[in-house]
């Protein structure tokens, strides 16, 4: 059984953004691939002492999950929210 890993979550309008600092190496591929420039650098440090990422606001994320797809280390998990009308 693996021990539980530290996770930083940010709840946004359409998705919950989760990042695991123990896996994030701060390469920045996700921030550049994001179509809406949602991600910015955060103060929390990752695996190599490099900054991790965090969403800059609540409504620009469209839950496309490209950041999770291009992450070479599987550090990002996006949970889509159901639309409430």
């Amino acid at each position: 059984m693996l021990k539980e890993m530290e996770v930083i979550s940010a709840s946004m309008e359409r998705a919950v953004f989760n990042i695991f600092p123990a896996y994030c190496k701060g390469c920045g591929l996700c921030t550049e691939k994001c179509p809406n420039n949602t991600l910015k650098w955060s103060d929390k440090l990752g695996a190599y002492g490099t900054p991790t990422v965090i969403p800059r606001d609540e409504d620009s994320c469209i839950a496309c999950m490209i950041c999770a797809m291009v992450c070479p280390d599987c550090a990002i998990v996006i949970e889509r929210k159901k639309r409430t009308k």
Partner: protein, 255 residues
């Protein structure tokens, strides 16, 4: 329940985070391979072989049988394993240095014999592990450690186009394709086809993946994507060159 990272089940988690540099394309390629192993349910049947270069850092990447060979010899080792144990699936994993320069004779002859193996070649246009020297796939004009003024095609020739020459060498039943880490869904689909081709026993399967190398390109994240998408993908055409699956899967894809 606490949320866990979305790592593929076939990854060997005690070795994570893996040893590749930040932003390295190997992680994305191996994530696609891991997810395909999970979805096809072949973790117990697979033998994963890696070659020399940065690709050898994947030796403890998967929780499945692995082997590591030197200098392009992953192709004959995979051929030998497949011939002695035909029920196993052998997946060779190498870089452009191991595959196209020092191991090209093995690659070429395995393709001519149409061996039923799967090879994945990660092309990042330089020799990553030794510090970024010129490789057979370095673009004309690209600055590397050994070509400080840019690659001069009058002296060193033009980049090797592996899938193109392999698709003319192989016979029917071969699967030859080129994918890129900037189009993840397409990469995953091509890799699934390359594995499926071996499972069905059609013949030689080869997938080249264009990958990033921010450390040796000396690029930041934005320049990394720009170099991959604007320059490398222009030089090397992405798509399926040869497929035994018929027209359904043949789309030369723009994702």
């Amino acid at each position: 329940m606490a949320i866990a990272p979305a790592t593929p089940k076939s990854w060997y988690l005690p070795t994570k985070p893996h040893k590749f540099c930040p932003g390295c394309g190997h992680g994305i390629v191996l994530k696609a391979l891991g997810e395909n192993i999970d979805e096809l349910g072949i973790q117990n049947d697979i033998i994963f072989g890696c070659d020399i270069g940065c690709s050898l850092l994947a030796w403890d990447f998967f929780a499945c049988d692995s082997t590591q060979t030197h200098h392009g010899r992953v192709t004959p080792v995979m051929v030998g394993l497949k011939r002695s144990r035909p029920e196993l699936l052998t997946v060779g994993y190498m870089g452009d240095g191991g595959g196209y320069s020092i191991g090209s004779q093995h690659l070429l002859n395995a393709a001519v014999r149409n061996e039923t193996i799967t090879l994945i070649l990660v092309n990042n246009t330089n020799y990553g592990m030794t510090g970024g020297q010129m490789s057979p796939t370095t673009l004309p004009g690209q600055v590397t450690e050994t070509t400080p003024l840019g690659r001069d095609t009058a002296i060193t020739g033009y980049p090797t186009k592996g899938p193109e020459f392999l698709s003319t060498l192989t016979s029917d039943g071969a699967y030859i394709a080129r994918a890129t880490v900037s189009k993840y869904k397409q990469l995953k689909r091509f890799m699934r086809n390359a594995l499926r081709n071996q499972i069905e026993g059609n013949g030689f399967s080869f997938l080249e993946v264009l990958a990033t190398c921010p450390t040796n390109w000396r690029t930041n994240a934005q320049q990394t994507w720009n170099f991959l998408e604007d320059e490398i993908e222009k030089e090397f055409r992405v798509g399926e060159m040869k497929t035994p699956f018929g027209k359904g899967d043949k789309e030369v894809a723009v994702d």
